[in-house]
Amino acid sequence: MLKSSPIIQENSPVFVKLPSENVRFITLKPNNTISLGKFGSFYTNDLYGKTYDETFEIYEPKKIRVLKTREVQTLEEEKKTNQELIDCRGNQLMSQEEIDKLRKQIKEGGLRGEEAIRQLTSKSLTFDQKTQYAQAKYVNRKGEKYLQQFRALRPCLETVTEYMLAHDPYKIMELTADCSTYMMTLGNAQPGGRYLVVDETGCLFLGSLLERLGGDSKVTLIHPNEQPNSSCLELWGKEYTEESLVEKGILRTLNWLQVVGPDEALKDMYMDDCSEEQLSEMKLRHRKRYEGRKASYARLQSTLEDFEKGNFDALFVLSNHTPMSVLNLLLPKVGSSRPVLVYSPYQQVLIDTHHELFKWSHPFEMTEIKNEETTKDESAEEQELRIAQDAWIEKLIMLDIHEIRTRPYQVLPERTHPFMSVRGDMGYVLSGLKVLSSVGTVAAGRFPKRQKQGSANKKK
């Protein structure tokens, strides 16, 4: 369940990466032609049965095959410099008409992209004077325009996030793959777990989480609209649509009104049962609607019961709403000794949340204590002290704000260095661990009379 195939199939989602580095998302419907503009076109059926992540060359119009040979540059000692090189338009001897003719030939299939590039380099006055590194860069740049190739990338945390960051970063709260993976790892996300998620990134994080967890886990999503905004889920394919996930029992959803007013919510949806007689008299579409509504009610009821139970394995919050307002409602539902993760594009939001969480506490009903202490004869004071000491509160420890960034390097012989231009990285993560603290407990070196209620230890 939820294990995606490495083989491209009918209606598979594909991220098509072009030589220009642009990426397009395509669902490969059967018997279609996909046009990639100047890079050529192909039939969707021809990709079925092929492996994701391969490079496909369009060797003739609309004919594709897997590109097998990869050019490896052998280097010699470089003696040239660019001291005498003068950059100007006239260096390229081919005229604009001749170049346009090349393009036309490529499109019609009479000319391969590699051959066109060879012609361009041979007609360049300065090409031979360039260093081998500059020559390689030149050929690569031409490749970005003329090669008839594409990569068929598989949807996953990395490819989906990269795509969304390039196309619509504000829709996903500028969430990077680095932040997503870090939150999931700190949250101890694992198959079979039970998680509570607030996700306003178009469900980009939710999709990433489900990809990691698989189908045996249970995730409850809380959202601020009538229906969840799950536009990113479809990028993982049809198994990840909301309907499919809910159907399989992997995903449960609640909106905030249902969270704060569960009884009202159930009442609104309630329908009296129809008798067998009434059912048999209904038109098919009315009967279907009745059954649909009954199923929705049952689902809401079970979701609310499960939510009420609490004790979730982790809480993930990625929300535009003030985190503390969300956390006040959801922290009591997290289990003890379980992590809480909050994402924000902005550090200041997490700093403010951190300060409030440091002070946060919630009374806990200690219903089961297996090692009960026997109460002996005690004075009224002693009894009062014992009762105070027996009062338990939930709080958070190990509160930290994390900043995680990756710096990509080019690794080429004689040319290893960080890349010159990288997208400005965003995003911070706040983590904490839920614990149970005794009101009466005293930290070493502190004195009872100076204790403020509910804050026994000044250390986090």
């Binding site: 083989i7 870090y182 379980r338 509160l399 407990t441």
Partner: protein
């Protein structure tokens, strides 16, 4: 499941991670007759059995406390006894993202080392995944084997991990039981280029496989990149992970007028004092002259000093008084400070992809 399923209460025989203080986590194997001692006092294990995970426990002398935490790979990474340099959670999470480590992934790891990465891998790939871990150092292998057994990771006891005592650079990765085929490879070795040629037998035949070479030095990275290219790997890229941890703090809001007013007060106080001293000196001189001349001083008493120099609020505030952060008598602004306890470089992460189409080329070139 690594360690054990999430549960609510501590039982005899459990592994617990005790939180002692900031950045202080200690693993405890719970045994009913044992006691844990630290600077805060004695904590008998019998007091812990039956308590909830996450619960606070006081020492017997009620002079301090600990929290009992349920172990996770992330807590284990911070608490485990180091046998080698370990891989920390920020690097682990980036590696999982790039290698696409999810439920069901089949992974090779060499070397096992202190097994920080091993615990995280075993947890994430889950029951439908597999971890093949190799360690060449005999005693580290034994320690890891015991740990994997105790932490429910070994395949024989419901886990998903095989641990092998092997030098993969010399003897490769093959296992007796069956042909080994994996989706992801993590190499944390001094010379990954020696292990890379052995891997071609074990990359996936019908999907892409990914590798990460984790090396502290640039020279190792360059040599590994070269070996990967020779072996038919593509999409070679390298990342440097930079990680910072921030603590939320408060800083005082103080307008510069406070300092200006204080200086004015100091000046006023000094000027007044100066005036009073001049006055006193004048009177003393008068008295002395009168005594010499035997004349009654005109002023029998020195003029009463002007009212005690007033102390304004600016003066009463002790400049070096220790103000507790967040003290409600003052105004504060929320800020963050970088944690000083940080590693600025762990290793470079070199990644590459192997595609099935390259396998034919490999077969051609080895023939």
């Amino acid at each position: 499941m690594v360690f054990s399923k999430y549960k609510e209460f501590v039982e005899d025989g459990d592994l617990v991670v005790a939180w002692i203080g900031r950045n202080k986590l200690i693993p405890l194997k719970i045994e009913a007759d044992q006691t844990f001692h630290n600077q805060y006092g004695a904590f008998p294990h019998s007091e812990m059995i039956g308590k909830r995970y996450g619960q606070q426990i006081s020492s017997t002398a009620k002079q301090g406390f600990i929290y009992l935490l349920q172990p996770t790979p992330e807590l284990w990474t911070l608490a485990l006894p180091h046998r080698t340099q370990i891989v920390y959670t920020p690097d682990i999470s980036i590696i999982f993202q790039k290698l696409r480590i999810v439920h069901g992934t089949r992974v090779i790891e060499a070397g096992t080392g202190s097994a920080s990465m091993s615990h995280a891998l075993s947890r994430t790939v889950g029951p439908s995944g597999k971890l093949y871990s190799y360690e060449y150092h005999a005693s580290r292998y034994q320690t890891a084997l015991q740990e994997f057994r105790d932490h429910n990771m070994l395949e024989g006891i419901n886990g998903n991990t095989h641990l092998m005592h092997r030098d993969v650079c010399k003897d490769g990765f093959e296992i007796k039981e069956s042909p080994l085929e994996v989706d992801a490879i993590f190499l944390d070795l001094p010379a990954p280029w020696e292990a890379i040629p052995h891997l071609i037998k074990h990359v996936s035949r019908n999907s892409s496989s990914r590798i990460c070479c984790f090396s502290p030095c640039m020279e190792q990275i360059q040599r590994s990149a070269s070996a990967l290219q020779d072996s038919g790997w593509c999409d070679i890229e390298m990342l440097e992970v930079s990680y910072k941890q921030w603590a939320a703090r408060k800083t005082r809001v103080i307008h510069i007028n406070d300092a200006i007013n204080r200086l004015k007060e100091v000046k006023r106080h000094r000027t007044e004092g100066f005036e009073r001293r001049k006055e006193r000196q004048r009177l003393e001189k008068q008295l002395a002259e009168s005594a010499e001349n035997g004349v009654e001083p005109t002023d029998s008493q020195p003029s009463t000093p002007s009212e005690t120099p007033s102390k304004s609020p600016a003066m009463t505030e002790k400049v070096n008084k220790r103000i507790r952060e967040g003290d409600e008598d003052y105004e504060w602004s929320n800020v963050a400070r970088v944690d000083s306890n940080l590693k600025s470089h762990t290793s470079y992460l070199l990644f590459a992809v192997h595609l099935p189409s390259q396998l034919d080329n490999e077969i051609e070139s080895t023939e």
